[in-house]
Amino acid sequence: MTLTAHTSVLHAEHLRVRLGAREVLQDVGLAIGPGWTALVGPNGAGKSTLLRALAALQPLAGGRVTLGAADGPDLHALPAPERARRLAWLAQQGEVSGELTVRETVELGRIAHLGLLGTPGAADVAAVEQAMALTECSPWQHRRLHELSGGERQRVLLARVLATEAPLLLLDEPTTHLDAPHQVTLARLFRRLAHEARPRRAVLTVLHDLPIALQADQLIVLASGRLQASGSPRDPALQAALVRVFGGAIRIETDSRGQPRVALLLDPA
């Protein structure tokens, strides 16, 4: 479950991203391993930009992203369809227009394999079925997206990502706007995908909710466009970095099973 450098599935070094005059990412380097990794940090830290850079949706001002280890293929240089089979990305806000049904939406994930013109075969149908089963969308697969609640829609969009069968999933705030039960179900799903599903997926989620993020195998802490810390949520040094970047507004405690928990500090000590 722990991450070591030589088992990384995605590697990034000296990443720089500029948006206008602002340097949003400054010299970020990291290695994403198998399992579930959460990317956290205060608002404006550059989390979404980092995820987009890792997905090759954001042009780089410097640095490179490679698949696997540091000597792997340059992700930004890969042909788009090839890249889409290696990693899948989920947008922060499930912005959806049009009148597609749940199933039609999930089927779009197969474009990575079929291209625009291919005809779906048995493998494609199976991947779609499995993605809907994992996210438990199958019962209402013929409803239209705009008829669904926010939580349901989020699961459908996640199923679309799973249907690509990419071994690496980059998910931008997949639990935002969901209530606690829905957040927990999704967190359980990330765990299952990372540790039980066949094949296993490496999952990288940008997360706003620290209680959920602390359940991940690995944490990456980002603030002001710079990498602050990365490692296990149980690592005291990482916890200290987390408290620091959140300006002392949180406290991290450890419960009886050694699992870290976060508390908000309204009254300064």
Partner: protein, 352 residues
Amino acid sequence: MSTSALVSSPASAQAQVSLRRRFAVWLGLLILLGIAAGLVTGPAGFSPSAFWADLQGQTGSLLIGQIRLPRTLGAALVGALLGLSGAIAQGLFRNPLADPYLLGSAAGAGLGAVLVLAAAALGGHFISLTTVAWIERVGLVSAAFLGALGGVMLTLVLARGAVQTLRLLLAGVVVGVLLGAISDLITVVSPDALRGKQAFMLGSTGFLGWNAIALMAAGLVLLLAAARRWARALDALTLGEDSAASLGLDLARVRLVLVLMLSLATALAVSQAGLVAFVGLVAPHLVRRRAPGPHGWLLVASAAMGAALLLWADVISRALIAPQELPVGVVTAVLGGGYLVWLLKQHGMGRS
């Protein structure tokens, strides 16, 4: 997941397919009836008895075969091209208010028409009037066609390709204003061109002959085949541009192909019938409201809907004040505007 209760029962896949099938049958009927109505509508208005009498006589039947039939079929084809173009535009820009004239094609076609009209008015002083009339007709069609395509090309150049949707839309607005201003300038200098331009802007099915039909039919068949193949890209775009790109689509190329398809459809239609209003905007709306579906269905159904709309608008334009005619664009504008007002009211009711 256990936390979400399912309230409404899901519509089955079969139910949706049968809804679309029923809609397609209705559209087919509407088109067939529209063609029939177009044939029996003449100088006497909507009159089956006059049509029957015409069929007996030689001039009458010639009139029907050479003028009324091509005009009616042509109206259907123009409507189909505009409906298809509008559906592509609305999918490409992910905006239900996008229409075929968005990217400078309308202003370009208008300028092309004005240039020919002004040149003909000038040439009328030197060569015989019948030659001028012939040049005017052929020249008008090709100039409007090239103008529409040229307007879109100018938009693409200004936007530096189809890399960014917003830049594309802004460039379209700029080209529209710019080319429109040039047309206005020419019409100030040449008042003869103004009259012709007005007719062109209003849209008319009056000049559609068999040549035009062959051209538009060939274009429509090709474009429909291409559109069906590219429909999956429009479906992917409903997820947002970044998501579509993350699926492995080369968005710049996809957008360019779709822009070319929609401008070709628009150019074919407006060069033959002028700037018929609202059909391209309203046809996809009606399909989405009545029988929603993925773009593979939406594009074809919008074309059929556009055909039905323009057929009936043409019948109305000829029957309403027979033996006089209204420009068909006026009828579509009134019908389309009325539909949008009704839509607005529906939304207002739903909100309050």
